[in-house]
C-alpha cells in the first residue's frame, strides 16, 4: 500500500529562523501553490504529523523543543530541513549560540537549501521525502515482523 505517499501531513517548526523560510512554507499553502492537492496538510500537532519541517538552525533555546517534537511523532517519520540555516547553520554557523544545522540534533532526511528556500523547492523537497517515508514504512513493517514472536502486548506504547 502506498497511502503514506498520498497523504503526508507535515508539522512546521520555526527553530531560530528569521521567518523568511517560514513565510515561504506558508506560501505553499496559499491558492497559488495549494499543497493540499497532493493531500499535504500542515498540522500543528506532532502526533498527527508524518513530515517534520524545520526552518532555522539549532540554538540552546530550541534544542529541547526540537528533540521533544521529534520524539512525539509516531513512526514512520521523516525530517526535512528547509533553508540554509536548517541545513548547515548558514551565515549564523559561527555564532556563539548556534550549534549548526538540524542534523546536529536529529537525523535529517532531506535538505532544502536556499535563503529563503523558494516554495517550489520546498514542495520538491517534501515530494522527495515521500519516497524516504515509504522506505521507512517498509523497514518498520519488517522490524515488526521480526519482533512479532516476543512482541509486547501493548503495541506501539513506549
Amino acid at each position: 500500500m502506498t497511502y503514506l505517499k498520498k497523504s503526508p501531513w507535515l508539522l512546521h517548526y520555526d527553530a531560530s529562523s528569521c521567518n523568511g523560510c517560514d513565510i515561504e512554507v506558508l506560501a505553499c499553502l496559499t491558492p497559488l501553490y495549494d499543497v493540499e492537492r497532493f493531500g499535504i496538510i500542515n498540522t500543528g500537532n506532532p502526533k498527527h504529523a508524518d513530515i517534520f519541517v524545520v526552518t532555522g538552525g539549532v540554538n540552546e533555546q530550541n534544542r529541547e523543543v526540537i528533540r521533544n517534537i521529534y520524539d512525539q511523532m509516531p513512526e514512520p517519520k521523516v525530517v526535512v530541513a528547509v533553508g540554509i540555516c536548517a541545513t548547515s547553520g548558514g551565515v549564523f554557523r559561527e555564532c556563539y549560540n548556534i550549534s549548526g544545522g538540524i542534523d546536529q540534533l536529529i537525523p535529517v532526511d532531506v535538505y532544502v537549501p536556499g535563503c529563503a528556500a523558494r516554495p517550489e523547492s520546498i514542495i520538491d523537497g517534501i515530494v522527495k521525502s515521500l519516497g524516504i517515508l515509504e522506505e521507512k514504512r517498509i523497514q518498520m513493517k519488517e522490524r515488526e515482523r521480526q519482533n512479532e514472536p516476543g512482541a509486547s502486548p501493548g503495541g506501539g506504547e513506549r
Binding site: S7, P31, E36, R37, F38, H48, D50
Partner: protein
C-alpha cells in the same frame, strides 16, 4: 419492523458514502477558496495512511474509549436505519460522544482537556434540539420508531419547519462546520492544536475519522426523515442542506463557546419549542 438488512447495508455502505461526501466537501471547499483541492478519494487515503502509522498512546485506556466511540456510533446509526426507536438511537449517539470525551480526558494533556471541555459544551448545545426533533416527529406520527415515521407518508417538514431549521443548526455543530467547530475542526489544524483529537495517533485517529463518516450518514438520514414522504425531494433536500453547510463553513468565522451554547439553545427554544407548541394546540386541526 426492525430491518436487519438495512442495518447491514448501513454498516457496509456508510463509510463509503461518508468518505465520498467528505471528499466532495473538501473539493468544493477548496474551489470556494480558489484552490484546486485534494482528490475526491483523499479522505480514504488519509484513513489508509493513518492505519499504516504507529499507534502511540499515552494511556492504554484511550484505545478502549475510541473503540467504544466507533462501536456506539455504528450501533446508533444501524439502529436508526433498521427503523428502531429514535430515543434509543439518540441515547446511543450521545453515549458514543461521551466515550470520545473520556478518551480525550484520559490522555492528561492540556490541549486534549480543552478539546474535551468544548466537546461537552457542544453536546450540551445540540442535545436539546435533537430530542425536540424526535418529540416533534412523535407528535406528528404518534410513533418513536424510525420505521413507522418513514412509512407514515406524512410531510413531516411541513408540520415541523421550525424543528427542521433548529436541526440544521445542530447539523452544523455535528458536522464540525465553521461557526461551531470548537472542539476539533477540519480546517483549523493549528488552533488549540486539534482539540479532542490531539492525543490520538495513527489507527485511533483513523477510527475517529471513520466514526465521523458513519455519523455524517446517520445525520443525513435524519434529514431524510423530514422529507420521507418523497425520496426524490428528500435526496434533493439532503444535497441542498449539505451544500448550505459547506457555504456556511466557508463564510463564517468561528464563534466563542458562549455564543455557540446560547445560539443553539435560543434557536432550539424559538424554533423547536414554538413549533411543538403550535402543533400541540392545533393538533386537532392539523393532524
Amino acid at each position: 419492523m426492525i430491518s436487519i438488512v438495512n442495518a447491514i447495508l448501513f454498516l457496509l455502505l456508510a463509510p463509503i458514502i461518508g468518505g465520498l461526501v467528505t471528499g466532495i466537501d473538501r473539493k468544493i471547499t477548496a474551489r470556494m477558496q480558489g484552490r484546486v483541492g485534494p482528490p475526491i478519494l483523499q479522505p480514504f487515503y488519509d484513513v489508509g495512511k493513518l492505519f499504516e502509522k504507529e499507534n502511540l498512546v499515552v494511556t492504554a485506556s484511550q484505545n478502549f474509549y475510541i473503540l467504544s466511540y466507533i462501536v456506539f456510533i455504528i450501533v446508533s446509526g444501524a439502529l436508526f436505519f433498521a427503523g428502531g426507536d429514535l430515543l434509543l438511537v439518540i441515547f446511543a449517539f450521545t453515549l458514543a460522544h461521551i466515550f470520545l470525551v473520556l478518551g480525550a480526558y484520559a490522555s492528561n494533556s492540556p490541549y486534549s482537556f480543552v478539546g474535551a471541555e468544548r466537546e461537552l459544551i457542544q453536546i450540551i448545545a445540540y442535545e436539546p434540539m435533537i430530542i425536540l426533533s424526535a418529540v416533534g416527529m412523535y407528535m406528528v406520527t404518534k410513533s418513536f420508531f424510525v420505521g413507522d415515521i418513514a412509512a407514515s407518508g406524512m410531510p413531516l417538514f411541513l408540520y415541523l419547519p421550525g424543528v427542521f431549521i433548529g436541526f440544521l443548526m445542530v447539523f452544523t455543530i455535528k458536522l464540525r462546520k465553521s461557526p461551531f467547530d470548537l472542539s476539533t475542526s477540519h480546517h483549523a489544524h493549528q488552533e488549540l492544536v486539534k482539540g479532542v483529537t490531539t492525543e490520538f495517533t495513527g489507527p485511533n485517529l483513523a477510527k475517529i475519522e471513520i466514526a465521523h463518516w458513519y455519523e455524517d450518514v446517520f445525520l443525513l438520514g435524519f434529514i431524510y426523515l423530514f422529507f420521507a414522504f418523497d425520496p426524490v425531494i428528500a435526496i434533493v433536500a439532503i444535497i441542498i442542506a449539505y451544500l448550505l453547510e459547506i457555504l456556511i463553513d466557508n463564510t463564517f468565522s468561528r464563534v466563542k463557546w458562549q455564543l455557540t451554547l446560547k445560539s443553539a439553545w435560543i434557536v432550539a427554544g424559538m424554533m423547536g419549542l414554538v413549533n411543538l407548541a403550535v402543533l400541540y394546540y392545533l393538533a386537532g386541526v392539523l393532524i
